[in-house]
Symmetry: C2
Subunit: 171 residues, 2 copies
DNA sequence: TTCGATATATATCTATATGATATATCGGTA
DNA sequence: TACCGATATATCATATAGATATATATCGAA
């Protein structure tokens, strides 16, 4: 969490709200953040001296903009450079259902798989749109990779489930 | 959480400890459970009447075996039949690092990708072993699919990252 | 021009989950 | 018999999502 926020703040100073939007768009497929974690983490990062906040006021609105500090940049680079076992967590509820599908009639399973494939297609479509819009705004090839990964991942999921559908229908 | 535990208890009555082991082996790739969630959930399920517990005692050891009830079976089937948007969460820390890798020297990025591909291969190897051992114990084709999915997923991840490595090395 | 919908912005609460740790028993082996 | 690893239950601290509350700003349509 902490390092991802530092990373985004290294691109430009932002408010918690802007941070949430940016996280959702750019790495949202495999890393998401809620306000319930963003705001407390920002306060903690400021205590540590990794970011500093500036309270601007547009009219009557309170607006706290956070910027990364020199110390924060160093921490970010240390995290990027460190080759630890990276966290990889996949929670795929559909697969849990599939595991127990032996209890259910084949027709129902077929419909579940078909619907899932459609949903995967829709998600993939959204990412393809995002990719087109990203082309202009990205300062860096590396910032395109997660979106490209997401598109390829959904393609893989669609393919795997299409093959599953074929197998289930065949008996 | 709740429904996954009900599912496993529909296969056979079990203790919380056995449940944890079984979850880790069978759906562990995309759904995991800790004791801190298993025991409280079992107690809640019993309050709801979806499972009933029996306190057996082997010698001096306390051993609480949980079995699914008729009501629990109905709840499980209702969950399996219901076509809702299923939870899909991927937390892929490596991809977050990649997003910010523009800050780092190419050599370091190449090493990160290489190491990651090796780790993916190791994980895939474990699943292939598991698949071989599963052949005997599974009562059902559906119980094989999650493991097969895991193997295919790691293959996809290896392929995607190998292609990424090629691209990064080329400039 | 005013009304309502949507976007911006911060903050906090509840429920739940993880990971670690504590405690204790059991079976096998050295 | 002493010890290790597996079995078994339980709980703590910490983290997080998701929902909700509150308020302001913007913009288009009636």
């Amino acid at each position: 969490m902490k390092y991802a926020l530092l990373g985004f703040l290294s691109l430009q100073p932002m408010t918690g709200y802007e941070l949430k939007k940016m996280v959702s768009i750019s790495t949202g497929q495999f890393y998401s953040a809620s306000y319930g974690s963003i705001y407390p983490t920002l306060r903690k990062l400021e205590q540590e001296g990794a970011v500093k906040s500036e309270e601007g006021n547009e009219g009557n609105r309170v607006k706290i903009t956070y910027a990364i500090t020199e110390k924060g940049e160093q921490e970010l680079d240390a995290w990027l450079a460190q080759q630890g076992e990276e966290d990889f967590v996949l929670r795929y509820e559909y697969m849990t259902k599939l595991f127990f599908s032996g209890r259910r009639p084949t027709g129902e399973i077929v419909r579940m798989i078909q619907k899932h494939i459609e949903e995967l297609g829709a998600e993939r479509g959204k990412l393809i749109e995002l990719h087109a819009s990203l082309d202009e705004s990205c300062s860096d090839v590396y910032q395109m990779y997660p979106c490209e990964f997401g598109i390829a991942l959904y393609q893989f999921l669609q393919d795997w489930n299409s093959e599953l559908l074929r197998r289930v229908e065949q008996n």
